[in-house]
Amino acid sequence: MTRRLGVRRLVRFAVSLGVLMVVSFAMIHLIPGDPVRAALGPAAPLELVEARRAALGLDRPLPEQLLTYVTGVVTGDFGTSFLTGEPVGEVIASRLPNTLSLALLATAVALLIAVPLGMWAAVRTENGRNRGTELGFSATTGTAVAVPEFLYAIALVTVFAIALGWFPPAGKAGPLTYVLPVLALSLGPAAMIARISRVETLRELAKDYVRLARAKRLPAARLHLRHVLPNTLTATLTVGGLLLTSLIAGGVLVEYVFAWPGLGLKIVESITQKDYPVAQGVILVYGALVLVVNLAVDLVLGALDPTSAIKEA
């Protein structure tokens, strides 16, 4: 990646982050009526509501509120929870690692399952041979892609935690508790990546450099792993990176099923209980995560792909 492209990408990231902050700030103001009254309920005494409004700064002019909000976020001050009085920043700091570890592990597992599977299917079905394999592969992955992660989660809990008792059904305590949530989160993306990996591998197998490598009579393992695999990775990783963002969102549902102490569980709680400062902070963090992942994918791809320098020049 040329430096100019990298800089341009960083500027775009910064702008998006700014927009995201304004949007999350606006969220509370978009709530029809008085958010504090909505949160505390009609029975709450007027003094309490007024005190809360003042504490949130809702009685001051909008520009001033925005400024306070932005400086707060930049210094790590996301406000305090309506319900528990905890600083939202602390809630996020304690839960973010749990969410991230789940998403990263699931991405890794998805790639580890999917890339070899897709390559294997491609090699077996090259030039239209083994139509049976092709049909089976596309039917299986097409089905697996379509099942949402929370159904995988429920099915895994029912079978492996409740019926067989192999894994704990919920909570986070040690490596065993990771198995089911990570699986639930990675199966769908794995099916997706496997399809892409197959298509990319087929595309590469048809190229001249593979013919030349075959003319060199390289062993199959070397041909596929050293020659073909690196050339399919760019496309596969792009999709893998973008899937990571959907994994972050899918994680909310999986965390809910497994009572996983991450941000996802928190956001569901906070929305249900109208704990607006928490919801606002967590949504901001989720949005920022999506932006960071996209930025990282772009930068990594730029560095990985030796030909992108030419394209940009």
Partner: protein
């Protein structure tokens, strides 16, 4: 037909599931509606029983009936979200074409930024703003669908507006509205419908997710997600209560996805004609090896399914240090001949031969190690032939590592040495570079050097200079000559350019429609060519400086496709000397003077 229906089985399954859901949405509520809301205090929170196959909920209502009834609401919400998303997206997508440039760029940028955001996040945002309930979830999921549609609309509008037929219609004065209805809409309808199918499936799953989290549909309404929300805490005791809604959501997701996939494939499909595969022709009579030949090919035939035979009973020999040119127009089978000799004919092609010997031994009996070091291949486009992801040096070195067990350092040294040998400047540095950092000529040198990593006995060069510019062509030809003299390898040089072949080669083999029609010493090309096709090739040669890319501009007609060759001489339709006999009987390749063989009735 069986192949067709088998490949469409998933699509048919998807269509059936989606159709069943639509039927359920219509007939479900009238049939089971009462049962779904009938409260039975005597049957609260029961598991499966004959009366209630999926159990009952906390008010004793039958869960099976509730699942069957909830289909309508689930589908309607998904339709609403999709409609919102599609309309908003199409408006957003057409904005850039009507707004001033700056605003248009802003709109495009917004769409691009939004596309990256997962739908669930947007839905949660709206859930905060609007409060819990179906309205917020539908708005949120709709908002999540919109960016995808916007981008699709942008792309489609841009491609269609610039398409030739639209500009042509505009120039002919066709009214705007007619252009839109007759030209633009039909061409973008297909991808839009496809996207609608997928968006509808996505919306259904997204809404189910929101309801499952308790953020979507609220009681007393219920959709599948809400039923799952109610059933989920009970799976420890009675898992079957979650089964109904879970299966319904899964089936819906699968149905829409399979249908969408099948539609996408149907849209992309180019008609493929499939025919029965005939048994490959049997060839026998290998005979004794020719002691004077490195490469000996006898009766080589390449067949593809459907009776297509691009190479027919081709025979040729190449002696050590000899360069034989294989000439013909594209489609004459010359490149497939090269592929067959290298063992690289792609599936489903079949190769048969009476003899295919390298150094007197049948290639089928040679090990990979022997073939990998004895055979060097050079292709037309060196950029395509080198792996873009690997360094040049490594691609050379692996031949020595794989076939000769050389260690890394030794293999590298040899690679650099070979690169220097083919006059690549700064071989050390070049070895550490990727192919895209080299010029075209340097790349082709690198490919030739790769062939020199072993001890090549046969070099097969398939149009090795066609992709290069003229000055580089000469250098590469000189290098080939040099390499052949030095290694004594037999060389098969494949080209459509008879002038280049005449310059470089010792002997020339002319192919037409899969067969050899003439074989002669290169020195006799100018005055000794006997076959009418060879003569035409030479006659059509302009002066050296003019374009030679269409060698047969002088002869009317085209070479017949491999499937359309008749009984007689394949050249007959274009041949000035053709007689009735030429149409019905094929001339054999027979000796004609020293070192020359011709297949033509009229050459005496």
């Amino acid at each position: 037909m069986t192949g067709w229906s088998r490949r469409n089985a998933p699509g048919v399954a998807g269509a059936v599931i989606v159709a069943a859901m639509a039927v359920l949405a219509v007939v479900g509520p009238p049939i089971w509606g009462d049962e779904a809301v009938r409260i039975d205090a005597a049957a609260i929170l029961q598991g499966a029983s004959p009366g209630h196959p999926l159990g009952t909920d906390n008010l004793g209502r039958d869960l099976l009936a509730r699942v069957l009834v909830a289909g309508r609401y689930s589908l309607l919400l998904a339709l609403a979200a999709t409609a919102i998303g599609a309309v908003a997206g199409i408006v957003l997508g057409t904005l850039p074409s009507v707004l001033p440039r700056r605003a248009a760029r802003l709109a495009t940028g917004t769409v691009n930024a939004l596309v990256a955001f997962p739908g669930l996040l947007l839905a949660m945002f709206t859930a905060v703003v609007t409060g819990l309930g179906a309205r917020g979830a539908v708005l949120g999921i709709g908002a999540a669908i919109a960016p995808g549609f916007a981008r699709l609309t942008q792309t489609l509008a841009a491609t269609v507006a610039n398409a030739d037929y639209v500009s042509a219609a505009r120039m002919l004065g066709v009214p705007r509205r007619r252009i839109l209805t007759r030209h633009v809409l039909p061409n973008i309808a297909e991808p839009l419908i496809l996207n609608l199918t997928q968006a509808l499936g996505g919306a259904l799953l997204g809404l189910a997710g929101m309801s499952f989290l308790g953020l979507g549909v609220q009681p007393p309404d219920f959709d599948w997600g809400r039923l799952l929300f109610d059933g989920f805490p009970r799976i420890y005791v009675t898992p079957e209560v979650a089964l109904g809604p879970a299966a319904a959501v899964a089936l819906a997701g699968i149905g829409f996805n399979l249908l969408g996939d099948a539609l996408a494939r149907a849209a992309a499909r180019t008609s493929v004609v499939r025919e029965r595969t005939p048994a490959p022709p049997v060839a026998d009579g290998a005979g004794e090896p020719d002691p004077g030949a490195v490469l000996e090919v006898r009766d080589l035939t390449v067949t593809f399914p459907g009776g297509v035979t691009p190479v027919r009973q081709l025979s040729l020999t190449v002696a050590p240090g000899e360069i034989v040119g294989l000439v013909g127009e594209s489609g004459s089978g010359k490149s497939l001949t090269a592929a067959a000799i290298g063992g690289l004919v792609p599936y489903p092609g079949t190769v048969t031969y009476a003899a295919l010997r390298l150094g007197g031994r049948d290639v089928a009996t040679l090990s990979d190690k022997e073939l990998g070091t004895a055979l060097a291949m050079v292709f037309q486009d060196p950029l395509a032939a080198l792996n873009p992801a690997l360094k040049v040096g490594g691609q050379l070195a692996e031949v020595a590592i794989v076939h000769e067990g050389a260690d890394r350092a030794e293999a590298r040294r040899r690679a650099v040495d070979r690169l220097g040998h083919v006059h690549l400047p700064e071989p050390e540095r070049r070895a550490r570079q990727h192919p895209h950092e080299l010029s075209g000529g340097m790349r082709q040198r690198a490919v030739i050097a790769m062939g020199l990593m072993g001890t090549p006995r046969l070099i097969v060069a398939d149009e090795p200079t066609t992709a290069l510019d003229v000055t580089v062509q000469r250098q590469i030809l000189r290098l080939l000559r040099e390499v052949v003299e030095e290694t004594g390898a037999a060389t098969l040089f494949i080209s459509h350019d008879i002038a280049v072949v005449g310059e470089l080669c010792d002997r020339v083999v002319v192919m037409y429609a899969g067969r050899v029609v003439e074989e002669l010493p290169a020195g006799r090309l100018a005055d000794g060519a006997a076959h009418p096709y060879t003569k035409a090739l030479i006659a059509s040669l302009p002066d050296l400086d003019t374009d030679r890319s269409t060698p047969l501009a002088g002869i009317a007609g085209t070479q017949p496709a491999p499937g359309q060759i008749g009984l007689g001489c394949a050249f007959a339709p274009r041949c000035p000397l053709a007689t009735a006999r030429c149409e019905s009987e094929r001339p054999e390749l027979v000796a004609h003077g020293p070192g020359q063989r011709v297949a033509c009735w009229e050459v005496k």
